[in-house]
Structures are given as C-alpha cells and as structure tokens.
C-alpha cells in the first residue's frame, strides 16, 4: 500500500513512452466523459432549468469595501442611494427606465459604470450598458439580470450588481 502510494510520487520513465503510444480514444475514456456529462447535466438541471423567481430587488455593491451603493425595489418601484455614495451616483430617468451612472476613484483612476434598470411591469431587467474598463466583460459576457439570484460583476472596477430579495427599505419615487 505504502509502496503503491509512493510510486505515484516518483518520476516514471515509462510515462514518456506511454504518452507517445497513447491513442486519441481509449475505452476507459467513456468513464471520464460520462462523469463530465453527468456533472454538466446536474449543473444545468440545478442552475438553468430550475424555476426562476421573478425579479424582486437589486443591489449594487462596491467590492472594495463591501458597502452597498444602491438598492432597487422592483415591487414597490423605488430606489435608494446609500448616503456614502450620494456624490458618486447620478440618475437619468426615461419613463420607467433608469440609468444610474456610478463614478468612483479607484487607485487614482476614475471608474465609471452605467447601469440601466427597467421597472416596467413585465419587462423588468438590469444591465450594464457602459463602463470605461479595458475588457467590457460586464457588458458583453454577462447576461442581463431578469430574475432573482443573478449577478453582473465588473472585475476591474470591483463593482457587482446582484438581484436579491429586498429588505423593504426604499424611498417612493
């Protein structure tokens, strides 16, 4: 047993030959492929095809200190800007669609993100529409938030938008 255990950690000459001789497909591959397939199916069943809760509340969090910048309550159609970030956030309103521009200083650079939130009944969503980061992952790769428990993360600006159940705080617009 111990010998077999140590054998795993020794250098093996025949591995070089085995690697050269190995085929593109061997019969035991099916076990590994099956395992991977099972994981994928389970993950899709759990995270994609499970019933989604309707969008309830939204939080925008500054990940540098964990503070909440902004909360939106979809059921009451209200939003609340945290007092600490009152100077960082500006709001533009077109009908029931709000554009929140969040600009803050991070390592001496001005980081700007524009988040669009729609409070229209039947068409509630939140998405990042502008960011002055180099990658734009948050705009191109993340899906729009349309249900509870979804997130958009802007990694370079350390900002995240998450949809959660609201705490009930909010100012009526």
């Amino acid at each position: 047993m111990l010998v077999a255990f140590l054998g795993i950690f020794a250098r093996k000459k025949d591995l070089v030959f085995k690697a050269q001789k190995s085929k593109l497909f061997s019969i035991w591959d099916l076990l590994l492929y099956g395992l991977v397939l099972a994981i994928v199916i389970v993950l899709f069943a759990v995270f994609v095809f499970s019933p989604q809760q309707a969008l309830d509340g939204l939080e925008i969090v500054d990940q540098t200190n964990g503070q909440v910048v902004l909360t939106v309550d979809f059921s009451n159609k209200t939003y609340r800007i945290s007092p600490n970030y009152a100077q960082n956030v500006s709001v533009e309103k077109t009908g029931e669609i709000y554009q929140f521009t969040i600009s803050r200083q991070l390592n001496g650079e001005l980081c700007t993100n524009v988040v669009e939130v729609s409070l229209q009944n039947g068409n509630q969503y939140a998405k990042m529409i502008e960011a002055n980061c180099p990658t734009h992952d948050c705009i191109n790769l993340f899906e729009d938030i349309v249900a509870n428990d979804q997130a958009i993360v802007c990694a370079p600006h350390r900002l995240k938008i998450v949809s959660t159940t609201t705490s009930g705080e909010g100012i009526i617009i």
Binding site: I8, F9, K13, F17, Q20, S22, L32, D137, F142, V153
Partner: protein, 178 residues
C-alpha cells in the same frame, strides 16, 4: 537529493513557455462566459506531468500562476492558484495510475472542467457572490471546449517529439539500459 541540471533546465523551459502563453492569452477577452479562457498554458502543465515528477508539475503551476498574476492582476492569484493546484493534482493522479487506459484528451477535458468549477466556487466564496454559481453550467461547457483543444495539442506534441529526445534531456539513459 540530487537534481540534475538538465531536469531543471527542462522545467524552467516549460515554466517560461507556460507563462508566455498565459500572458498572450491574457491580451484576449474571455470567451462566451465571464472568466472563461482557453487555458493554453496548461499544455505545458500536461507536458510537465508526463515528462517530469509530480513535484515539478506542481512547482510549474505555482510559478506560472504567481508570476502570471503578478504581471497582470494580483487579485486573481487566489482563484487561479487553488484551481490550478486542484486540477494538476487530479491530472497527476489519473495520468500516473491509468494513462494508456485513458487518453490524454479525456484527462485534459476532465481536469479543465474541474479547474473551471473550482475557480468559480472559490470566487463565489471569497467575493461572497453566490449568484455567480448560476454560471457553473456554462463554465463546465467552456471547460470541455478548452480541455479538448489543450488535450489535442498535448497529443500532437507527444506524438511529434520522440521519447528518446526527452529521455536524453532527463539523463535517464545513464541509469537504465532499456
């Protein structure tokens, strides 16, 4: 313990190539899913697993992730280091126990999926964003794609380079006349 200079040279060559691949890949945006990359630097991790000792392969992963994140973005070190270590240990176990019974492509796909899932899990835990778990299925699919590409590349490389060349580099022929 005596470590032959040739072995160190080979390990540092693999480290350097792996790091260069990591840096080049970092210039391109992620593919389809946030955070998903091709992981082409893992071609050299696989080669180290096949040609060198487990310790060498683990050292390669630590050096690549540490230096790579220092050159690009330090905050990603925790995720790439844990995921890299988990997947390299998985690769080592599978390759050392059953290579020949399983092909390189299958091992590569399985460890790429494991890498992506570990990375996302660690990210969710550290940044306290459980909502990101929703991307798990897509990350697994991206892992299958990336693993296939890496596996095929390793397959071609091992077929192209003669075992004799590698064994000469590692001074094996002095100890064994097989």
């Amino acid at each position: 313990m005596k470590i032959p200079a040739k072995r160190i040279a080979l390990l540092s060559m693999l480290c350097a190539m792996s790091l260069i691949m990591f840096m080049i890949e970092n210039l391109f945006p992620a593919m389809f899913v946030p955070g998903a990359k091709m992981g082409l630097s893992n071609i050299f991790t696989m080669l180290a697993v096949l040609w060198l000792s487990p310790v060498d392969a683990i050292v390669l992963v630590i050096i690549r992730t540490t230096l790579g994140s220092l050159f690009t973005n330090v905050s990603t070190l925790v995720y790439s280091l844990t995921a890299g270590l988990v997947s390299v240990i998985f690769t080592l176990l599978v390759v050392r126990t059953s290579l020949g019974k399983v092909s390189l492509v299958a091992v590569s796909i399985a460890s790429a999926v494991l890498h992506n899932l570990t990375q996302n899990l660690v990210y969710c835990l550290i940044s306290q964003t459980p909502e990101m778990m929703g991307y798990m299925p897509y990350l697994a699919l991206a892992g299958i794609l990336a693993g296939t590409v890496v596996g095929l590349a390793v397959f071609v490389i091992t077929k192209t380079i003669k075992p004799k060349t590698i064994l000469k580099m590692l001074d094996y022929e002095n100890t064994d006349n097989q």
